[in-house]
Amino acid sequence: MKSTKNPKNQKKRWYDYLWMVELTYMALGFFNILFAWLGMLFFCIPLIISLVKGTKGYCNRYCGRGQLFGLLGGRFGLSRKKDIPRWMKSRGFRYGFLLFFFVMFFQMLWNTYLVFAGARTLRQAVTLLWTFKLPWHWAYHGTLFSPGVAQFAFGFYSVMLTSTVLGLITMVLFKPRSWCVCCPMGTMTQLICKAKSPKGDIVTEEP
């Protein structure tokens, strides 16, 4: 009998294993903070895809973080699988959260600039949830360039770790990939797609 199943869902593709890249990234930052720079790929690739192709191809296929949450919450059963509260999926909250992330990101860039300019010394710490300073000195082994390079790495890793922790919390409380609802990168790429899309393609209700 011919199977009605879509072959796409039967056979795994190379990009279905990108959760390993996410895990490796987080692990590398634990041993040498300069690896945090690789995280720029997780920022640039989705933006390039949305700007060039006008799609959320990164979220749809290549997001290792989403896959990791899907795996932990789904196969490993670490999620309550409850509906996310309505306010968390509202545009107001999503756009507000994106703005908040932007502000925090630029504050991190400002701190990096201060270290580059010599106005501040390097802080060998990772800031979790924009508040808690975690000692992370074991991951710093010096840099060939300015200490600002390492300061950016600490700051960037803080952003990545914070969003991973928030993603894990939403995964446990709600559905495995609930982080996707308020993920600042997802919101930003969707906004780019909206801006790029012909006006007739934006509908408010599915026919």
Binding site: N60, S90, V181, I192, S197
Partner: protein, 70 residues
């Protein structure tokens, strides 16, 4: 006598709240869901069999399975 209208269960996505993450398209066994221009999920209801996998997977819970006229 009124003619009988057949109804079948189909998936409906709230395009306004959809975040276009693609989780639904990934699990659809009929390949009936497409992410339109990175903005929202669109269900091809001629293919949809109303299995509900997408609704269970949707992180924003914006997919509903309801009766639709066949």
């Amino acid at each position: 006598m009124e003619p009988k209208t057949r109804t079948r269960r189909k998936a409906f996505a709230d395009t306004d709240l959809c975040v276009a993450c693609g989780c639904c398209a990934r699990v659809c066994p009929m390949n009936a869901i497409q992410i339109r221009n990175g903005i929202y999920a669109r269900v091809d209801r001629t293919r949809c069999v109303g299995c509900g996998k997408c609704a269970r997977e949707c992180p924003a819970s914006v997919i509903e399975i309801r009766e639709a006229q066949a």
